[in-house]
């Protein structure tokens, strides 16, 4: 076990090893992946789509099959697109980074449009209206309005816009003389909800759509509170500057809206349709 230390005592191997270490850092300079443009995608014949593994009701796995709002649209896209759709299902924390570095062409997931993300990503037309709300334990009588959230522990998904827009809630609380309590980050929302039920956190912040689904599934455990943010729209994410792919996807979305399929899916998965979604959206936050 201390063998490497011993071999290191020879000057030649130490210099060599340091040199190799340096090479490890320099090597990636040479190659950096670029996102594929629409022409390249058409030429190679497939589009790589990333979806999240457990984000109800947008995408999740039921009985071994991917389903949900976004997954149904992926199936529609397969029929619409002149190329093959290859889907990769993975945890949220890998998705946007993968799109930004060119590993995936598009993330067909509910990625909320934020200023920070706009620096390295472009977005399609919004797919839903997703103001942020909080959910609490139904039995918790201590929380009835925003000001009751003062100092309470909040759970949110790591790397999400819901987490990064918590300062908005903090501002709301500050106006009433309070502030945000401890923040706990989770890999995915099912774990956050479970901890809420267990009492490790006092409230969880997510979009109204997700929370409505949760409360529909578990009405005895949870109750939805009030809005904790301004306007918020989720959309599909693509690498920055990939304008042709963006146009292609926006055409698809427009077509789905025109044929009524979009509203049909929204009603099915969200409980209501959002007919007045903007075609593009510049975020304030």
């Amino acid at each position: 076990m201390p063998m490497f230390l011993r071999s290191h005592s020879r000057l030649f191997s130490r210099r060599l090893s340091l040199g190799l270490l340096a090479a490890v850092f320099v090597l990636p300079l040479a190659m950096k992946a670029q996102a594929a443009s629409l022409d390249e995608i058409k030429k190679r014949g497939y589009l790589i789509v990333a979806t999240e593994d457990d984000f109800r009701p947008f995408e999740f796995i039921k009985d071994g099959k991917p389903t949900g709002f976004d997954n149904e649209l992926v199936e529609d896209l397969r029929k619409y697109a002149p190329f093959e759709i290859r889907q990769e299902i993975l945890p949220w924390t890998g998705i946007l980074a993968g799109v930004s570095t060119g590993k995936y062409d598009v993330a067909i997931t509910a990625a909320i449009i934020t200023k920070e993300r706009r620096k390295s990503l472009d977005f399609t037309s919004p797919i839903a209206d997703a103001t942020h709300y909080y959910v609490k334990r139904k039995a918790d009588a201590s929380i009835n309005a925003i000001k009751d959230l003062n100092g309470k522990t909040v759970g949110a998904q790591a790397g999400s816009a819901l987490l990064s827009r918590l300062p908005e809630l903090d501002d709301m609380l500050k106006k009433e003389g309070g502030k945000l309590g401890k923040i706990v980050e989770y890999t995915s929302y099912p774990e956050a909800y479970q901890d809420l039920a267990l009492g490790r956190t006092d409230f969880v912040v997510n979009t109204i759509i997700n929370l409505k689904t949760l409360v529909a599934e578990k009405p005895e455990v949870f109750a939805i509170g009030q809005a904790v943010s301004g306007k918020s729209y989720p959309a599909w994410a693509i690498a920055k500057g990939n304008t042709e792919l963006q146009a292609f996807l926006n055409e698809f979305i427009a077509k789905q809206k025109a044929s009524g399929r979009f509203a049909e899916l929204q009603k099915k998965w969200f409980g209501e349709a959002f007919p007045d979604l903007p075609v593009s959206f510049e975020p304030e936050f």
């Binding site: 076990m1 201390p2 490497f4 230390l5 490890v24 850092f25 320099v26 990636p28 300079l29 950096k32 924390t93 890998g94 946007l96 980074a97 930004s100 570095t101 920070e116 390295s120 790591a158 790397g159 706990v184 980050e185 989770y186 890999t187 774990e191 479970q194 267990l198 009492g199 490790r200």
Partner: protein, 218 residues
């Protein structure tokens, strides 16, 4: 690429906090599990079938399930039985209990390899049990088990990385957080690997110096 490392450097606070958490977690778990393991070893070797049986079941049980599964059970399963820890405590408790089993097994093996003469001499000299343990038994035991304990410490450091899955803000969690927000996966994780490697070199150096002390004593 240099730009990516610049981003990682700008987030060094988070990384260093993660490194500190990993170190604290691992050191605490190592010390406590070693202490508990030493206490458990006599039970393992006891001639009393019930005590030996229970100890053996515990040790074999811990060695037959994955650490991550055990950590999940402590974090998500125990609340059903009324014991609710936060993620830090769950991680620490899981590390401690899991490694107590391994430490007990290590000490048992080291004990079996110990020469009996010094102990018999100590008994003949009339040393009390406690002094016998502290001055004759324990020092050579720890010294001879040094390398294996060092190995186990490295294992503890690596097991602590699993706890990123229950959102414990240790080193891998910090690197993961940086890469998921700033999109610098290579730089973030290579830095984390480098830091883990550094930690292990420190442990190996400590083990070497213990080995030198052991040799000097002989």
């Amino acid at each position: 690429m240099i730009h990516d490392f610049g981003i990682v450097w700008s987030e060094r606070g988070l990384l260093l906090t993660g490194l500190a958490n990993t170190t604290i977690l691992s050191v605490l778990a190592a010390i406590v599990s070693l202490a508990l393991g030493i206490l458990l070893t006599p039970a393992l070797m006891s001639r009393h079938p019930l005590i030996a049986g229970m100890a053996r079941t515990f040790v074999d049980g811990m060695r037959c399930i994955p650490f991550l599964l055990f950590a999940y059970i402590v974090y998500y399963g125990l609340p059903s039985l009324g014991l609710r820890f936060d993620n830090w405590s769950s991680g620490l408790v899981a590390l401690m209990i899991y490694n107590t089993a391994y430490m007990a097994e290590i000490m048992r093996g080291a004990w079996a390899a110990q020469p009996r003469e010094p102990i018999e001499a100590g008994i003949a000299f009339g040393l009390s049990e406690f002094r016998l343990f502290r001055r004759i038994i324990l020092p050579p035991l720890l010294l001879s088990a040094g390398p294996v304990i060092g190995n186990q410490m490295i294992q503890i450091i690596k097991d602590s990385a699993f706890l990123t899955i229950i959102a414990l803000p240790e080193l891998t969690h910090a690197a993961s957080s940086i890469q998921s927000r700033r999109y610098v996966p290579f730089a973030a994780f290579i830095t984390a690997v480098f830091l883990y490697w550094g930690l292990c070199l420190v442990i190996e150096a400590a083990v070497s110096s213990i080995g030198r002390i052991a040799d000097a004593r002989r």
